[in-house]
Amino acid sequence: MDFDIRPYNLSSAATSWMMLVGILTLISVGLSFVLSLARNGGSGVAIFTRGLGSYLGDLFSLSLGRIYALTKLTLLEAIRRKALLVFVVFAVLLMFAGWFLTDTNSRPELQVSIHVTFLLTAIAWLILPAVIFLSCWALPEDIRIRSLHTVVTKPARRLEIVIGRMAGMGIVACLVLVVMGVIGAVWIYRKLPENSRSQLTCRVPVFGQLYFFDVDGQPAATGINVGDTWMYRSHIAGNSRARAVWMFRDVNESSIVRETIGTGDEAKTVEGVKLECRFEAFRTVKGSEKSVLQGVQAQYTLSSNPREEAFGMLSQGEALRPVADALRDGQFRNGSERLKELATRVRSNPDELRPADYLGLQNGLAVAGVVLKELKLPALLPVQEKFEAASNSGIALIRVLQINNTTGATDKPPYAEFAESLETLAGGILENADVLHESLPKLEVPLPAFHISEYHEGAAENITVVPRKLRFAADYETLARFLSGIFEKWSEEGKLVEGNAISSGLVDSLQKDASVSPLNAELLVTVLNEQLTAGTLKISDGKLAVVDGRRWFAFFDDLIRKELLISQDTDGWLIEKDLLTDLVSNGFYAS
């Protein structure tokens, strides 16, 4: 059994429905054949064929008129025998439910869900007796009081009777459902305060893919199975480097929702991506009562790291991990060095690596090639091609290794060629380090920590709206690159200086031309002025430049590291800005 959620597909659903019906038909036909043989012995065959024939005859001579008559009969029965009294019960329930349900001021955020749950439960519980009564009245009652005798002595076929009765019941059930649904919807809509109505809009879940990292922070296939749940619900160890990572691929503008949080004066509208999840905490050691009641602290970090996706697969195998780690962290120079070392090892001492390592390496190279290709950035093309080439060369190597292994042949594996392709790749990475950096920026947003309440209660739910305006913490490098890109260019163009001071229009042009948000633009100009006064910047030849001939990148890198790029009202090292938007409009994202 797998629990993956797949999109609904009508044609495949229809096929599997038909398969199921077909199989059931075959089974029942087979069973009745066996039964007929068992009951009637040899003549059972004839009896069976006759029965089958008459059934097929029935099937092809169905009369819609007769089916309709029986359907109508069932409808009338439902009305006359007061099955629809459920509506009255429903109405009464709704009238009085108001008294109990509105008193949820203590948990205003639960109001909507309480109302909806109540309504759905009420409908489910009311439709059940309606349908049960109806189905008890229909055929069984027909047989019991023999009204069926009168019907079957008319030219009504068995199949028509069954279909007609079922259609009638189906219509009644649908009617009840529709009427209750509509009334219920109106009732809920009017009952709820205006600001929570938006919650009634249904949400389309975006499911992520789950990856695990074990207590040492190393990738793991699964989490820990604590033994009492399905495997798809595994756990991670607390207070360790273990992490569970969900990868979402389709989060974009359309995932953003508007929602009002809180009530009364504290109500505020948030716009953002809604994260909803359920947790279960499980304790494997005995602890004092106190520690149990303390619950567990948990935290999300939102991150966008295309590098993880591209180079994560390289980390299979001990020998390859340094390369992967460096590339993942955006240390492309370092990564290139490690790759060169690896190439040297392959060339000089190829047997040191196991065939599995080669396989893993080739695999990782191929994945990197594909992911880079999918980004569809022309700038990345040269690197991507080198990854592909290395992967192909890896395939050639693996093939020989496999042949040798299975046939006992002693062909010389093309280690040298592979090493060479790795060296070429290392060179390519070094050459394109800047491009790689700019094309694969990493963003990380730690969200406020939350509490999973006492574990023996089982699960805790967490619903977070990740606001659209976030304090995004891009990693140092990305930020520094972003800013230095802008300033290097404008400094060349002399746009930064006006007379002997920083241009007064800089705030404006940062907003207009570089799409930096107003707050950030002001912050930047303020900090630049401070730095000019402090002497790390200078104005010469009408150009603003960093002293000692240093580059703008180094300047901003310094600023961020020394936590100088912080506005008064921020409470961390985070730079206050709508960085996501800023970066997107500056081409950091190619979506």
């Binding site: 008459s54 029935d58 009369s63 008129g65 007769r66 309709y68 008559a69 109508k72 009969l73 009338l76 029965e77 006359r80 025998r81 009081i145 023999r146 009204s147 069926l148 005798h149 009168t150 019907v151 079957v152 002595t153 008319k154 030219p155 009504a156 076929r157």
Partner: protein
């Protein structure tokens, strides 16, 4: 015989319990025919298998053995029902429908057109005298009214063959009279009627032929007039005789050596036949009686 509407050959029915053990043999090797255009009466004491026979003819029960055709078709053939009307022993109708809806429903089962259905239900409701109650639900009906709507329902399709299981039970004298008239009217229209009844006078009035069943066995089968004819007696009818005329006739009869002349209204009727058959069947099980035997035993019974 091409004229037979119903042909029954060696029909037997054994009711079995859940485990297949024999409970009752309701019908034993029954053979008989019903001719087109006749009114056929099935008689017999309670539990003699009349209803069982009728249900087998309709395909409501499967026979244990034997063969039968009805309107030239097998009993299990649904299409035969197009031309059959059936009034069950008790009216098995939908009690939440009113008379109009009931007839409309059964009319639809015959795929009758809307106009036909309306016309036909008006006719039938008029005929069974439910005009005033046609909009009331059947659960409010009295027993007789239920019988009446049951009858109307049986005739909705203008059937060729009408099977009536105790048609007069629950009807008032007027209703009984009307029912008999109706049966005769159906006969006049050339339809075939098969009925079971305990109201022997009624059967005597309307039936052309009867069969008497006893414990599932056919005991008597024949034309009513022949069966009731008393061969060893002669009945004379005149306008009522004066005392002197009676004496004169007695003398004439004595001259011919006929002694026990009685001057009463004749008592030999179906009731007597019925009682006799049942009594003798009890004494001599397993025998079928001929018309002569019955007539002959009639004398003993009378003496």
């Amino acid at each position: 015989m091409s004229n037979a509407v119903i042909e029954i050959r060696n029909l037997s029915k054994i009711y079995r319990d859940f485990w297949g053990r024999k409970k009752v043999q309701a019908v034993k090797s029954l053979s008989m025919d019903v001719q087109k255009g006749e009114v056929f009466g099935l008689l017999g004491p309670n539990g003699s298998g009349k209803t069982t026979t009728m249900k087998m003819l309709l395909g409501l029960l499967f026979p244990t053995s034997g063969e039968m055709t009805i309107l030239g078709k097998s009993a299990s053939d649904v299409s035969k029902n197009e031309k059959i009307g059936y009034l069950p022993e008790e009216s098995y109708l939908y009690r939440f429908l009113n008379a109009d809806e009931t007839l409309d429903f059964y009319g639809r089962l015959f795929n009758m057109s809307a106009a036909d259905r309306i016309r036909r239900s008006d006719e039938l409701i008029e005929m069974v005298g439910l005009g005033k109650a046609r909009r009331r639900q059947l659960k409010e009906y009295s027993k007789g009214m239920t019988r009446r709507i049951g009858l109307a329902q049986a005739l909705i399709n203008d059937p060729e063959l009408v099977l009536l299981d105790e048609p007069t039970s629950g009807l008032d004298p007027l209703g009984t009279r009307e029912m008999k008239d109706l049966i005769l009217r159906l006969k006049a229209q050339g339809k075939t009627v098969v009925m079971c009844s305990h109201q022997l006078a009624d059967v005597q009035d309307v039936c052309d032929r009867i069969a008497v069943l006893f414990q599932g066995e056919l005991k008597v089968l024949g034309r009513v007039d022949e069966l009731l004819e008393m061969r060893n007696e002669t009945q004379m009818r005149t306008s009522s005789l004066s005392k002197e005329a009676e004496e004169d006739i007695r003398k004439v009869l004595e001259k011919h050596n006929i002694k026990n002349a009685q001057f009463t209204s004749p008592r030999a009727d179906l009731e007597e036949l019925f009682l006799r058959t049942v009594r003798e069947s009890g004494e001599r099980p397993g025998r079928r009686f001929s018309a002569e035997e019955i007539a002959a035993s009639g004398k003993g019974g009378n003496a």
